[in-house]
């Protein structure tokens, strides 16, 4: 066991043993065409953490999330969510995919998209009820998009589209959230709105995992961090694992700009 993993081991041991962890990954490997994308991942995330998943392009961040959600086949290893398989826990899991993963010309309004968050609990043949519509509207209000509820989604700005996705995650009413780059190409107002929302989710005891690219904001936004580059380089409280040394090991020598930004952050603390 590498020394970087120590902090979370301690948390695991001191945490209440009766309650199972929101996310526990053991020996997870995923390969495409026999080429591993993520390799032998071991991770435990304690309850109520705001977690950033950080690493260079191609580090396997999205793959890690998709493997947790059973969206891609695992080559080996297990993932347990609150002590059970994803299949049994899916109603407690919320997912925000990458914004580019869908066709924004699709004939639906922002409200329609948000209401999709309720589909999972509806079951076959059931229609969206008035109550879920009201819930969806409420979620849109919370992300500041109430006035845009009936707009076709291509007429929203990138930031508004991202907030629509977050509102959809809110109505999923999950206990653990997986978000794939919710901060990608959003305006400053949206970034603030998302951060506020994440903190609010955390206050309500939710666990949130976020794939994040902007190293400079990691210590400010997230209290727990996973540094990933095919393998887990380090995981634990951000102020312990987000060090110059770990970042260098995650990004290698190739990303000097990132390293410089990270240096600044580390120095400023």
């Amino acid at each position: 066991m590498s020394p970087e993993s120590d902090p979370f081991i301690q948390v695991e041991q001191t945490g209440s043993s009766s309650k199972s962890l929101p996310l526990k990954i053991r020996d997870l490997t995923v390969a495409y065409h026999r080429k591993p994308v993520i390799w032998d991942i071991d991770l435990s995330i304690p309850e109520g953490k705001l977690v950033s998943i950080v690493g260079p392009n191609g580090a396997g961040k999205s793959t890690l999330i998709k493997a947790c959600l059973d969206l891609i086949p695992r080559t080996s290893g297990e993932v347990s969510i609150y002590g059970q398989s994803y299949k049994k826990r899916r109603k407690r899991v919320g997912y925000v995919p990458q914004r580019e993963s869908v066709d924004w010309d699709f004939p639906v309004s922002a409200l329609d998209v948000v209401a999709m968050g309720t589909y999972g609990k509806l079951g076959w043949f059931r229609r969206v009820s008035k109550r879920s519509k009201a819930l969806s509207m409420e979620a849109l209000e919370r992300v500041g998009l109430a006035d845009y509820a009936h707009r076709q989604i291509s007429q929203l700005s990138g930031g508004q589209q991202q907030r629509t996705f977050l509102a959809r995650a809110l109505v999923q009413d999950a206990d653990i959230y997986f978000m794939d780059e919710p901060f990608a190409a959003v305006d400053a107002a949206t970034e603030r709105a998302i951060v506020e929302l994440l903190k609010e989710l955390q206050k309500r005891g939710k666990t949130v995992l976020v794939v994040h690219h902007d190293l400079a904001t990691v210590p400010q936004y997230f209290d727990w961090t996973v540094l990933l580059n095919m393998r887990v380089v380090a995981v634990g409280p951000t102020n312990e694992v987000f060090t110059q040394e770990n970042l260098r090991r995650t990004y290698g020598g190739k990303l000097t700009l990132f390293t410089q930004a990270a240096n600044k952050v580390v120095q400023s603390r």
Binding site: K66, L69, D70, L71, K87, R90, V93, Y95, P97, S101, V102, D103, F106, P107, V108, S109, D112, V113, M116, Y119, G120, L122, W124, F125, R126, R127, V128, Q152, R168, Q172
Partner: protein, 306 residues
């Protein structure tokens, strides 16, 4: 122009075929897999030919079951080949459906001595002949009605497709828009995909006699693509696509009767004219659709500049 009861039936059959296709076409267009409709409509041919050679009957139940199987197989093979053959999905579709279609064509040509199914009918259908095959003669309000088999079969398929779209509207919507979220939520996107593919196959077979394997692609795709330009609501898109399909069927037959006569020719292929009409409606909508049309956009742009 003279109008016979046979013309009414041609229009009814054309409208039913076009409507049944348009219902499913919406989801092919939105899932960006229009060419899958193309592939399946061709790939079902060997299944059809085999069922036909074995049972000797057209539009038999075994034919539909065979078609559904081949439809799903086409989708499965396409995915396999693109995964293992290191080619993109378009190329792998091209491999699967041309091979199957060629196989079907060979079977038909070989069996042509024994059966009355000829290649040109496979390609373009023979909607003008379908009303002659009468299977049901009810009396309604004192009128003696001769219902052709094609009409009965297409009513069944149109109903089946309507039930499918209405019952699974929510599932179709989410799995077409965001398949990953749908899967993560436990809504079986893959199941929806294969259900859609089998219905496309069944619908194609039902429409085969009437419109053939090429015109059926126009009916799957064009009304849905047209409707997409006219609305931002999914349910309205589905309704509009069916209306557009019916209008192109009616206009298609009317113009098949009238237009060639104007130029001194005998009347022409109705199914061909239906596809032409659908194309004309699409072109009109591309130009003039209130929100997404080329001209209204241009007008808005110039106004904005001013």
């Amino acid at each position: 122009m003279e109008w016979y009861s046979i013309d009414t039936w041609i229009v009814v059959i054309g409208a039913l075929a076009a409507g049944a296709c348009a219902l499913l076409g919406n989801f092919l267009v939105l899932r960006k897999m229009s060419m899958m409709g193309d592939a399946i409509s061709h790939a079902v041919l060997p299944g059809l030919a085999i069922a036909f050679l074995v049972t000797g009957a057209r539009a038999s139940l075994s034919m539909f079951i065979g078609a559904a199987i081949v439809g799903v197989l086409t989708a499965v093979f396409t995915q396999w080949i693109s995964r293992f053959g290191k080619v993109d999905e378009g190329a792998s579709m091209g491999i699967v459906f041309t091979t199957l279609f060629a196989l079907g064509l060979l079977l038909i040509v070989q069996g042509a001595d024994h059966v009355d199914l000829d290649p040109s009918c496979v390609l373009y259908g023979a909607i003008e002949l379908t009303p002659l095959d009468v299977v049901w003669r009810p009396t309604l309000f004192g009128y003696f009605i001769e219902v052709p088999r094609a009409a009965l079969v297409l009513v069944g398929v149109a109903l089946l497709n309507t039930v499918f779209v209405v019952a699974f509207f929510k599932e179709l919507r989410i799995s077409s828009f965001d398949a990953e979220l749908a899967t993560a939520m436990g809504i079986h996107s893959k199941l929806m995909h294969y259900l859609l593919m089998s219905l496309v196959a069944v619908t194609t077979v039902a429409c085969f006699e009437a419109v053939g394997s090429i015109i059926v692609i126009a009916m799957l795709i064009v009304p849905a693509a047209t409707a997409h330009l006219l609305t931002d609501r999914l349910w309205l898109m589905v309704v509009l696509s069916v209306l557009i399909a019916i209008v192109s069927a009616v206009l298609g037959h009317l113009s098949a009767l009238i237009l060639p006569a104007c130029f001194g020719f005998a009347d022409t292929s109705t199914s061909g004219m239906m596809a032409v009409m659908a194309g004309l409606i699409f072109s009109t909508v591309v130009l003039f659709a209130p929100k997404y049309g080329v001209l209204p956009r241009l007008v808005r742009k110039t106004e904005a500049v001013r």
